[in-house]
Symmetry: C2
Subunit: 506 residues, 2 copies
């Protein structure tokens, strides 16, 4: 086989390995490669080959005919110096792809087959279209609950697993979709103030106006090294950090990179994804929040119950103590949507401020109470009261301040966006609907989460009476273009429905 | 919106549009793009935007921060000069993707929904993972026969359609998988000698050792312009050309580019793909050949019958006269596997040479006879005899010579590969199995179809008695490395099974 000179091509192809060959490369011609062929790149010492999808280059300024180019991620994976001699060949399809074809044909796969699939995905032997094929074959109709269990188990096995060496490591997770739903930033200090271990890592927003990591980032540093994170958790019993660096359940990260652009959101994948990450993070007890509402991810109570059973089945078989709470997802939680505005809500609740949004406080206490009852010494039903005591007494605020100090306070704390536009009620009547999706959309257009001060501040919530011209909410932005887009979108569809009541009050 | 300078990046990403932005590009930062985001590129005059998947560049030698790079296909599609000002934005997901999600959920789609999907695919609004999702959702379990009909109809509508202005335009198609099965090169001259119009276009091999276009290419030019093709067909009533330039049923070409690497081969997709192409090519009457055998694409007679019914249902509803013939696919047809060796077989049959392979001749006459009976003036059952007369009388040979001359004879006709290695029977007995897949694999390793003289020449076929040491077949190659790989593969598994009979003859 002919040897080619390795060359790093400084192109970020995200989670897909791409290799580049010049069209006049002798190997490209003799092997009958085509653009988008999958090829294996072998080191001289015959280690595990790296698999990549081929792009063909027609420009010697990018790549010479005797070179093999690799995109950034693939180059890092191969871990050889520029100029090293490497050999390439057609990649054999990964062995586990046969199981994917059986899944496509509607068959049920075994644990060993899911193990094979996750191993090959972790080894970057799947192209993105193969991952898409696997994910589609595993949609609601396609995956039995024991398969969800197998996939979860296999995903846990293919990653690292943290061990906190304590019998009770708690966590909470919301399946998402509700703007402003920042309960984690309140539950963590309450639960940690009680002494429970709650090492909470969160994601940044991808399609929403803010993730917990974005909102916490307004107050403190959230990008912690594994060592920093470990030390803070040991000292404070908690953290509120970004989980992106942990690389737990790496297969899940790869699957999500295909799931997201496809908007695939099957219950089986969701349960496997969430539970694999939590188990890998060392959690022993987990509270899951499933909001239900017409514009939430889960739209009916019966769908929520099915999802709860799937969480319970999978968690039980993996030794995870799991509570699933179905909550009201008919509207955003709190007032602020966007990092700065949400952080304001959170701090108002912690400060027992008179303007603190009551719904955020109440939901927090409900969920925190359920988590506190994971404590075997706590009497059933007492969690809520104890959570309230911790919050009202200021102990939760003190714990939050300690966490902010431990993680490093954000020196230049941002403020709400200076460009402001109120959105008014077009009629008098009762607010009967607030569209979660539209509110999130307007907040993102305004610049959230990239501009932390951007977003939407709600002044009215469901079931309130308004008069024509009352302020429903205010749009905040930092930049005129974003501001303009957000105001335009709100003018086209405010996201609120106000139902006028007739003169007889009917 | 910020304007970027367009730049062609000379990278061939095949059928996926790729856009490149520098990591320091202000738009990349402000819009919150990620690598693999789908973006829309707008011309200043506000025509149809081009959709592309984003790669992020970290090297100013490839792309400057104020530029937008496009891969070759995307650049051609946008059709603007280097340096033109363009604007980019997040691409909205194609509207028809909602139908794909409904298909994934197991629902049945309407003709209008298939129309929306094919229009968006033709408009390059689908990424490759979205196409993969669509294809997987349409597998055997997922597609009703009226949906196959809708998809076929929608694919025909999205492309050009040839009109030969004759009531009888015949074609034939084999679903593939059988090495050496070059009946088209015999059927076309026979049928055209009878006066029927048979404008046959074929593909080159992608995963097989030879396509009809590769084998015909040994004898004559096959890359004809639409005008050349038209003139030849008008004069000779036939052609044997490569169909790659026709761009009929363009959606099918895009789907196949994802189907192939995924090895997806669902009956519904296959039927829609074949029939859409044939209808677009102006065929009125079509013969389909379904070979059945343990190493053929279709492995059981019942599967072949199901496939036949699906062909018939779809063809009937689209006004295509269709005959489906189920044939013996237990072994390769003829002796040669690889372009030159297959062309030799074809010419031997046309010349009524005593060494001509009898099975190729016989299968040709069976199929040609069925096609001749599409002629309303022909008595049922007489096709075979008339086909034999045309072949035996030399009229088929004369027509083939006329076609070769019309298309342009290949001046440097290649010969069988000079490197030769016989493969011997390891025991005495009867040949009970010849593995189509292994024989194709060995021929490809030897260099077919890239080196037209490379391949395998079979000396023995099924049910023949051999003695230990008899030559089963000969490997031909042009280059030592290929030759070595092919011989090694044949040594590991010859592809033949010889069953020894005991001394009592049991």
């Amino acid at each position: 086989m002919e040897t080619l000179k390795l060359r790093k091509i400084c192109i970020d192809t995200y989670r897909e390995n791409v290799a580049y060959l010049h069209r006049d490369c002798p190997v490209y011609r003799s092997e009958g490669f085509q653009a988008l062929s999958k090829i294996e790149i072998h080191k001289a010492d015959d280690g595990t080959p790296v698999i990549a999808v081929l792009n063909v280059v027609d420009d010697e300024n990018i790549l010479a005919p005797d070179e093999l180019g690799l995109s950034e991620q693939a180059f890092t994976q191969l871990d050889l110096a520029d100029g090293t001699g490497v050999q390439v060949a057609h990649a054999r399809p990964p062995a586990s792809l046969q199981a994917v074809h059986r899944k496509i044909a509607g068959e049920r796969l075994t644990l060993d087959e899911y193990r094979g699939i996750t191993r090959d995905i972790k080894g970057n032997r799947y192209s993105r279209i193969e991952i898409a094929a696997f994910l589609v074959s595993c949609t609601e109709t396609g995956m039995e609950r024991d398969e969800v269990l197998s996939l979860t188990r296999a995903m846990v096995e293919t990653g690292k697993r943290l061990d906190w060496s304590e019998p009770l490591v708690v966590d909470k997770h919301c399946i998402g979709g509700i703007p402003g739903n920042r309960t984690s930033m309140l539950i963590v200090p309450i639960v940690a103030a009680h002494g429970m271990l709650i090492p909470k890592t969160s994601s940044r927003a991808i399609t929403s106006p803010a993730g917990t990591a974005d909102t916490m980032g307004v107050l403190a540093h959230v990008e912690l090294s594994p060592d920093q994170l470990h030390n803070i958790v040991r000292r404070e019993r908690a953290c509120l950090a970004w989980g992106g660096k942990a690389r737990l359940a790496p297969v899940d990260d790869i699957l999500i990179a295909v799931e997201r652009p496809l908007s695939l959101d099957s219950p089986g994948q969701m349960v496997a994804s969430i539970l694999a990450k939590k188990i890998a993070a060392g959690s022993t007890h987990l509270l899951i929040d499933i909001p239900v509402g017409p514009t939430a991810k889960v739209r009916s109570r019966s769908a929520a119950l099915r999802l709860r059973k799937l969480f319970e089945y999978t968690g039980d078989h993996l030794g995870l103590q799991l509570e699933v709470v179905i909550t009201d997802g008919r509207q955003p939680i709190g007032r602020g949507i966007g990092p700065v505005l949400e952080a304001r809500d959170v701090m108002q609740v912690l400060n027992n401020h008179p303007d603190a949004p009551a719904d955020l406080r109440e939901k927090t206490l409900q969920l925190a109470g359920r988590i506190l009852e994971f404590d075997p010494d706590m009497r059933g039903g007492q969690g809520y009261v104890i959570a309230r005591d911790i919050l009202d007494s200021g102990r939760a605020l003190a714990k939050m301040e300690a966490l902010i100090e431990a993680q490093g306070e954000n020196p230049g704390r941002p403020t709400p966006g200076k460009l402001q536009q109120p959105v008014l009620a077009s009629a008098s009547g009762m607010i009967t609907d607030i569209d979660n999706l539209q509110m999130a959309h307007i907040a993102r257009l305004a610049g959230a989460p990239m501009d932390p001060g951007a977003g939407v501040d709600l002044h009215r919530k469901l079931d309130e009476q308004v008069k024509q011209g009352d302020h429903l909410y205010t749009i905040h932005a930092e930049f005129p273009a974003d501001f303009h887009f957000a105001c335009e979108a709100a003018a086209a569809a405010s996201g609120y429905r106000v139902e006028t009541t007739g003169p007889t009050g009917e």
